[in-house]
Amino acid sequence: MDERQRIRAHLTRFSCDEAWLGSEDLFAGGVLDSMMAVELVAFLEKSFTITIDEDDLELANFRSVEGMVRLVLRKRS
């Protein structure tokens, strides 16, 4: 599985709704609570062997699958 597929597969923990998985703001609508963000960080760090730090705390990096893919690719480059 590539990065996108792995992130989508993880997000099915919260909802399998395709529209939500493809949305531009996963935190809108209340499916993903901001307090679940730490779990997302743990998943991204462990799955892609990256370290997320203060510099990466931009909403754009976490609120969509594409944003997370870009973050992972940038951290691994």
Binding site: A9, H10, T12, R13, F14, S15, C16, S34, M35, A37, V38, E39, V41, A42, F43, E45, K46, S47, D53, E54, L57, E58, L59
Partner: protein
């Protein structure tokens, strides 16, 4: 036909390594010498003496997980847990200093800017600076999103106004991790104790952790430089507080284990020595039932704490759920085991001269702090449902 082999996780061992057992013995020796004999005095005076704070700092026990290169002990997560259990076995109030100070150190270590880390991580690791965690407000307990303290940007600073309650060791802390609402959303700041506009008052004494030196903070226009921001503005709750609380829950799980160990040891000793009508208490079947229940709960607590520690060490995402489960179970088990201990001791167990009544009071607190049992039930259930959803999605994805 034989069953398929079951994969054994590296993080699922059931016993301590020789190194961990050695570390545990050292922690327990320290506690036996420097904490246990004085624990009732701490409770009576509602304070932990500064000399003991210094000793804890000298031993590197206040933020023991901080890497050695940053001035910490660099303990593994399991060893950090064993330390919490040992401290709480002597005094849960003393242990709670390690919980809250560790939460502040972790927040800076994890989310601080390079400059902030440079200024504060080593002093926190060495205990030269004592940290306290200021999140709870008069109107915001379990619902942390309800915080009303504000942080108004003003040039190169923020001006913080609001109130904080039940800040453990707030009476002696040098540095507060304060959460407030800025224009961008919830934001975390380091606020030194001597900041102009900050008033610190002792909170009312609580049922347990009576020596935890709780304080209420009144922040009236406290000007805090922008460089004291921890993490980015808007990420104060979702990342900074959540990471710190996660570590706090882990510490409380192990602390609950320590309380349970102390209560159970007292129960077994008393049941082995005390006679009623010529028969040892331990030979009464109803007393044995309480001992059996305690021993079983204690075993399960040890295993859940160890599993959470091993998975944290391996940085497994499931460690978050494991920590929730460990804290939820351990705090309830500690209360139950302490309740058995009080009952087995009879009137003596009610006396403030006997440690089991302190265990009972402290255990009750563990079910509320760093996430009440009710909040944890919601989160644990959400993880269970999430596991199911992910499994169903995986099977559906594999179907032709």
């Amino acid at each position: 036909m034989s069953a398929p082999p079951v994969a054994v996780e590296a993080s699922s061992r059931l016993a301590l390594t020789p190194l961990e057992a050695e570390q545990q013995a050292a922690f327990q020796a320290f506690v036996a010498d420097e904490i246990t004999p004085y624990a009732e005095d701490f409770e009576a005076s509602a304070r932990v003496p500064p000399e003991l704070c210094r000793r804890l700092a000298e031993e590197g026990y206040l933020a023991s997980f901080v890497p050695e290169k940053s001035g910490g002990r660099g303990l593994s997560m399991v060893a950090h847990g064993l330390l919490q259990a040992a401290l709480a076995q002597g005094s849960a109030s003393v242990q709670s200093l390690s919980t809250v100070h560790g939460m502040v150190a972790l927040a800076v270590l994890r989310w601080g800017s390079p400059a902030l880390k440079e200024r504060f991580v080593t002093p926190l690791a060495k205990g030269d600076v004592l940290g306290a965690f200021a999140l709870t407000e008069p109107g915001a307990g379990s619902d942390v999103q309800a915080i009303e303290t504000t942080a108004q940007a003003d040039g190169d600073a923020f001006v913080i106004t609001g109130q904080k309650r039940w800040v453990s060791f707030g009476q002696i802390a040098d540095l507060f991790l304060v959460f407030a609402r800025s224009e961008e959303g919830p934001t975390a700041f380091l606020v030194p104790w001597d900041t102009e506009g900050l008033t610190i008052r002792p909170s009312p004494l609580t049922l347990g952790l009576r020596a935890a030196m709780l304080a209420d903070l009144d922040l009236q226009g406290c000007r805090v430089p922008r460089e004291n921001l921890v993490g980015r503005a808007g990420f104060g709750l979702s990342h900074v507080a959540a990471s710190a609380l996660e570590l706090g829950r882990y510490a409380v799980a192990w602390a609950s284990l320590g309380i349970a160990e102390a209560a159970f040891a007292a129960s077994v000793k008393h049941a082995s020595e005390r006679r009623q009508r010529g028969v040892l208490l331990g030979d009464h079947q109803l007393v044995r039932r309480r001992l059996a229940d305690s021993a079983t709960l204690l075993d399960a607590t040890r295993l859940l704490c160890l599993r959470a520690g091993l998975r944290r060490e391996a940085r497994e995402p499931s460690a978050l759920a494991d920590t929730l489960t460990a804290k939820y179970f351990a705090s309830r088990a500690a209360r139950q085991i302490a309740d058995h201990a009080v009952q087995i001791h009879g009137a003596e167990g009610l006396s403030d001269e006997h440690p089991v009544q302190r265990c009972f009071r402290d255990a009750r607190v563990m079910e509320i702090i760093e996430g009440s049992s009710e909040v944890l039930e919601l989160l644990i259930a959400e993880h269970a449902l999430g596991d199911h959803r992910a499994r169903v999605a995986r099977v559906d994805g594999e179907s032709p």
